[in-house]
Amino acid sequence: MSFLVGSNMVGGYGGADILKGCTIGVDEGEIAVIVGPNGAGKSTAMKALLGMLDLTSGEVTFKGKDITHLTPQARIAEGIAFVPQTSNVFVSMTVYENLEMGAFLRHDDISQTVEQIYQLFPVLADKQHQLAGELSGGQRQQVAVARALMSQPSVLMLDEPTAGVSPIVMDELFDRILEVRNSGVAILMVEQNARQALNIADKGYVLVIGENRHTDTGEALLADPEVRRSFLGG
């Protein structure tokens, strides 16, 4: 039984079903990665866990509790954080204010969490009074992840965190994500860079047109000749 799991999820954004009975889950201290071709419903599956679409069947449980009918806001209050693929920072606010907004639901002292964030992403400490909109793509992604971490979530969901950043920045981001995982946070992410992502994944899901095609450890998926041939380009 996973920590956060959506089982047999069917649903879409009002039109045709995008998810056709797929199951996605992640455990504490684990990185789960969803890969698959374009239009496979990878992001949709993750958004379903957050409650951003109506499921016609299937259920979502978190810490053993059924959260299928909670609003996204309520799920965030429960300890799930989400980093969207685009528009994931407040561009007109400073880096520090972005962090403050991430901790909006907290009423305790956030200074310690801010310190931890600055240790994880040292560049943000230097740029804390700069507007997030003035940062480079890679730095913005760090702000986006940092904002999500400010709520001290137990699950962090990332929608293509490395989209549009250079390979060097991507490696660095993956390193940071591993560090976050090591601090005990469950991480679920959708990735285009399937090979690199599966490399750091404890668990991998290969989705094809809204259904699970392969589910295994990242290592096993990378070794599976069929997965390599169909999804990793040989």
Partner: protein
């Protein structure tokens, strides 16, 4: 020495007829434009009812002022309207929150497009305009009392020995002082408080604000409250400075929108800047400069015309032209706002 006096006289003329009126009218426009820009930033629509909201708030303030005056209450040199202002603000907040519940909330729940909200706000505008005219009538109302001037032209001439006088009305001084205090308070609220930051976040990126746990209903409520405070104060200051006539407030919609858009809509600093840009343009373009030139030029070059670029009847054309130019050349406004 004579030349120095002529230059001093010309400067006093410009101060008296351009700088002082421009600053006070600009402050009134800035407060109005701030309300428009806040609603645009948070609720994402152009609120055409803002001018009539100002008229409503001013009307309540006037009615309370008259009642206070009838009871013999006064603030000495300051206008009694200042005492009535809080009551006007409370009533305006009530009517704006009620309007939101009765009209806009419905469209919000249906995720209507901004143009639907805008048309709905026109309906609110007509209703509000009708209510105001029904209660107080369509005519000019005066409610200014207390001292008239801070600086009198006659005293100024006597003390400086210049032939041109400078006069500063109490209403002008009050407008500038109150506008500065109000803007400082608003910026402190937006920059420093939790709710203010939530509003900025919501305006910047609604989805991400929701993902951060911001309560949209609360943000919308606070926005209406702030808009009501700004509208009532702006309307009352304008009424004290000029006079109160419901139709004039409807007409103010154009310069206020121009101010908000010129400065960069959704950007509060832009709204203030835009207010002064529009006000000074209007005042400068419609002022007759003949006397200034008479002081500055030798007698042989004295202009025969009034040296006025536009008759005051066309003052609204000024905001309109600036608006069109800005939309053509820099649609995001002087400071970067949202593209409409």
């Amino acid at each position: 020495m004579e030349a120095m006096t002529d230059i001093a006289n010309a400067i006093v003329l410009l101060l008296n007829f351009i700088v002082v009126p421009g600053l006070s009218y600009g402050s009134q426009l800035a407060l109005g434009a701030l309300g428009i820009t806040l609603i645009f930033g948070i609720l994402r629509f152009a609120n055409f009812a803002h001018g009539d909201t100002m008229a409503f708030g001013t009307m309540v303030t006037i009615l309370v002022t008259w009642w206070l005056q009838s009871k013999g209450v006064s603030l000495g040199p300051l206008p009694t309207a200042l005492l009535a202002l809080p009551v006007g603000i409370v009533f305006t907040i009530a009517i704006m929150v009620a309007t939101d519940k009765l009209v806009y909330q419905h469209y919000r729940h249906h995720k209507a497009v901004p143009v639907t909200f805008m048309i709905a706000s026109m309906g609110v505008m007509f209703m509000m305009n009708g209510i105001v005219r029904f209660i107080i009538g369509p005519n000019d109302q005066r409610f200014l009392d207390g001292e008239r001037f801070i600086v009198r032209a006659r005293d100024f001439k006597a003390s400086t020995g210049l032939s041109e006088g400078l006069s500063i009305k109490v209403s002008q001084g009050l407008t500038i002082v109150i506008a500065v205090l109000l803007v400082l308070a608003l910026f402190w609220f937006l920059q420093r408080t939790r709710t203010g930051k939530a509003m900025r976040a919501y305006s910047d990126n609604e989805d991400l604000a929701l993902l951060s746990g911001v309560n949209p209903d609360r943000v919308v409520l606070v926005t209406w409250i702030l808009a009501a405070i700004l509208a009532t104060i702006a309307g009352t200051l304008y009424g004290l400075d000029k006079s109160f006539k419901p139709f004039t407030y409807l007409q103010l919609l154009l310069p206020m929108f121009a101010a908000a858009i010129v400065g960069g809509i959704g950007n509060p600093i832009g709204a203030i800047l835009g207010g002064y840009v529009i006000a000074f343009s209007e005042v400068m373009v419609t002022y007759a400069y003949k006397k200034v030139f008479v002081y500055l030029l030798p007698g042989s070059l004295e202009p025969s015309s009034l040296m006025q670029l536009l008759s005051t009847d066309y003052k609204f054309a000024v905001s309109f032209i600036i608006l069109v130019l800005v939309l053509l050349v820099k649609p995001t406004g002087i400071l970067k706002g949202k593209v409409i």
